[in-house]
């Protein structure tokens, strides 16, 4: 585990917002550098507007830094073309958002199949089998064929996690995954992430402002005003 799975190297990012005629430029991230090793379970915390979500998107190749370089699994993603990034996201990353963002027309199992079917990666039968397996592992074996609107908030989020895990990603990136859940459901999700990390060694980066959730992880990176203000190793 000498080679870090994620490396951010002097990353800066500005966001310009047009407000009427004038352009307001906000520095979101300022010269950030850190590594995340394989198998780590990291929480990124900080007040809202501190740039933690942007940081996550940069790690996931959804957004690009203005300066600096981002690496995933040894590849410089900040230099990739859009189509390469899409391929890389599909193969190596899983995303979980604050909202479940499931496709409403499709059942739980079909939603989980999507990342496997995208780019013709897997056959339909293969994808269906793996999707059902994943959902069962997350305790949803009796909800396979329900549409998202027939599921509770906690169940929806678990389907979203199953979808993120569909292609056995190198890194699972989660953006406030419990932000929209009650404490009981949130607890289930913490446990799930924690289990996943200890059981399978899944690398997880989770953005949260939930102190309790953060304390369950192994490392907390605190972001303040676009910079890493503290980096604590918990376990």
């Amino acid at each position: 585990m000498d080679e870090p799975i994620i490396r951010l190297d002097h990353i800066s990012k500005k966001l310009s917002v047009k407000n009427g005629g004038e352009e307001i430029v906000t520095k979101i991230l300022v010269d950030i550098s850190f590594d995340i090793a394989q198998g780590e379970f990291t929480a990124i915390t900080g007040p809202s507007g501190s740039g933690k979500t942007t940081l996550l998107y940069l790690m996931g190749g959804l957004d690009r830094p203005d300066t600096g370089r981002a690496f995933l699994d040894g590849q410089e993603i900040s230099a990739m073309e859009e189509e390469e990034l899409a391929e890389m996201r599909n193969a190596k990353l899983g995303f979980v958002y604050q909202f479940h963002f499931l496709l409403p027309e499709f059942s739980a199992v079909e939603n989980v199949m999507m990342p496997m079917l995208a780019r013709g990666r897997a056959s339909t039968g293969e994808a269906r089998r793996r999707a059902a397996e994943l959902l069962s592992e997350l305790g949803l074996s009796d909800r396979l064929h329900n549409k998202p609107n027939q599921l509770s908030g906690g169940q929806q989020q678990r389907v979203a996690i199953a979808r993120a895990l569909a292609n056995s990603p190198k890194v699972l990136l989660a953006d406030e995954p419990t932000g929209n859940l009650d404490s009981k459901n949130a607890e289930t999700i913490y446990k799930l992430f924690s289990d996943l990390n200890t059981r399978t060694g899944q690398t997880i980066v989770v953005v949260t402002h939930d102190e309790h959730f953060a304390s369950e992880t192994k490392r907390i990176l605190h972001i303040l005003d676009g910079q890493v203000s503290s980096d604590r190793q918990l376990r």
């Binding site: 193969a91 909202f99 027309e105 780019r119």
Partner: protein, 421 residues
């Protein structure tokens, strides 16, 4: 790229999610395709029935007395050494345009295996008199059995019969318009004043009606009588009417005749060219108008796709974050356009077929008796109408789908996902 099953499913589910709008769009395409098919069928049917009518009762090739190359030049200047010869005026008598020694010409023409039938005739402008009524008429001298093969009189007789004309040397057969003007019936005697002033007495043996005014205005006598009235000699004819056994080769037949006999020969297409051109122009205008019906249907397709893209922008962003390629997103919306077009075109074809059947069974009081008794609307029937209209609808829908699918492919996931909070 390989278009996978999941893209079809996503496209289909999104369409089904907006059932009402999708249904309206489908209706637009269906109606457009139906109207296009019906219009093409109607116009094609009209043209076909018109041509069929011509071909049925008109000669395919008409040979007239006009010379292709003038036998006596109008003006001639020639030099032989010091001698110059100049024609100043052609003083030869103004020849009536007749085919001389027509039996010989006939035997020349007959050698062509494409020629099925030759009917010689003479035509003269005469005055007809019956009781107190006198009127100019065009009188044709014919050999009834032969001419029947061209103009199909025997099928169009409203009284008397063609064989009576054959059996009666002084018999005359009247077109229905003429008979109406003279109020004459079969068995009546009437007088014909020839151009020479001589009066011939003839007996009405038959009245016919073809439904074509040009023909119903004419009268027919036996060739010999016609030649006498018009002052032709027995081996002269004004026209030779020809039927060929292969319609597509009639032009060839006409050109061969002109070369071999030096008499002008024209085909029915040449005679009817202006009418056919008019038909084609009217069809063009109709197609142009119908074109807009499908264009409007195309706007409907664009509308439903734009709505789908706008409504699904979050799902598109999510799919992109899951690693869907640009081309995959593009295909989802192109497939929607294709699906709407295919289903709409299929329904339109069925509706069009039904409408054509209904329209072609509408009874139409035929204003004329004719060999083709059009007692109902004649509609063209050709599978190409359906194929053509469907392809057209497909192209319009695909073009309509290009814009929305490209804007879907351009969705930036970060902007959309961030905007959700």
């Amino acid at each position: 790229m390989k278009i996978n099953y999941h893209l079809f499913m996503i496209a289909l589910r999104q369409l089904l999610n907006r059932k009402r709008q999708t249904f309206l769009t489908l209706s637009g395409i269906s109606v457009g395709v139906m109207v296009l098919i019906t219009a093409v069928s109607l116009m094609d049917g009209l043209l076909q029935s018109f041509i069929q009518k011509i071909v049925e009762i008109a000669p395919h090739v008409i040979v007239s007395g006009e010379k292709v190359r003038p036998t006596v030049p109008d003006q001639l200047v020639e030099s032989h050494g010091n001698t110059h010869v100049t024609f100043i005026k052609n003083v030869s008598r103004e020849d009536q345009e007749v085919i001389k020694n027509y039996p010989r010409i006939e035997s020349l023409i007959q050698r062509d295996s494409l020629v099925e039938l030759i009917s010689p005739s003479v035509s003269t402008d005469v005055i007809g008199m019956f009781g107190t009524i006198s009127e100019p008429i065009q009188l044709f001298g014919i050999i009834p059995a032969l001419e029947d093969g061209i103009e199909k009189f025997s099928k169009n007789m409203i009284s008397g019969s063609l064989s009576d004309l054959e059996k009666t040397p002084d018999g005359i057969m009247l077109g229905s318009s003429v008979a109406k003007d003279f109020t004459s019936r079969v068995g009546d005697r009437m007088q014909i004043v020839a151009p020479s002033g001589q009066i011939f007495s003839v007996r009405v043996v038959g009245i016919f009606m073809t439904g074509i005014n040009d023909i119903d205005d004419n009268c027919y006598v036996n060739l010999r009588l016609g030649q006498n009235i018009g002052g032709f000699s027995p081996d002269e004819a004004s026209n030779l009417y020809i039927r060929v056994n292969n319609l597509s080769r009639d032009g060839l037949v006409a050109r061969t005749i002109e070369q071999e006999t030096n008499y002008r020969a024209i085909t029915w297409e040449e005679k009817a060219a202006s009418v056919v051109a008019l038909f084609k122009m009217i069809s063009g205008i109709v197609y142009f108008l119908v074109f807009f019906v499908i264009m409007v249907a195309g706007f409907g397709v664009a509308n439903v796709l734009i709505t789908n893209v706008l409504e699904k922008v979050r799902d598109i962003a999510v799919m992109k974050s899951l690693g869907f390629k640009r081309s995959e997103i593009t295909w989802i919306y192109l497939i929607q356009g294709i699906m709407v077009a295919l289903v709409g075109a299929t329904i339109g074809c069925v509706l069009g077929f039904v409408l054509i059947e209904i329209m072609s069974s509408i009874p139409m009081a035929s204003s004329s008796a004719s060999t083709i008794r059009t007692d109902h609307l004649m509609m063209g029937k050709n599978p190409m109408y359906f194929v053509g209209a469907s392809i057209f609808a497909l192209i319009v829908s695909m073009v309509a789908a290009v814009g929305p699918s490209r804007s879907a492919a351009r969705v930036n996931p970060v902007e959309i996902l961030r905007g959700e909070r």
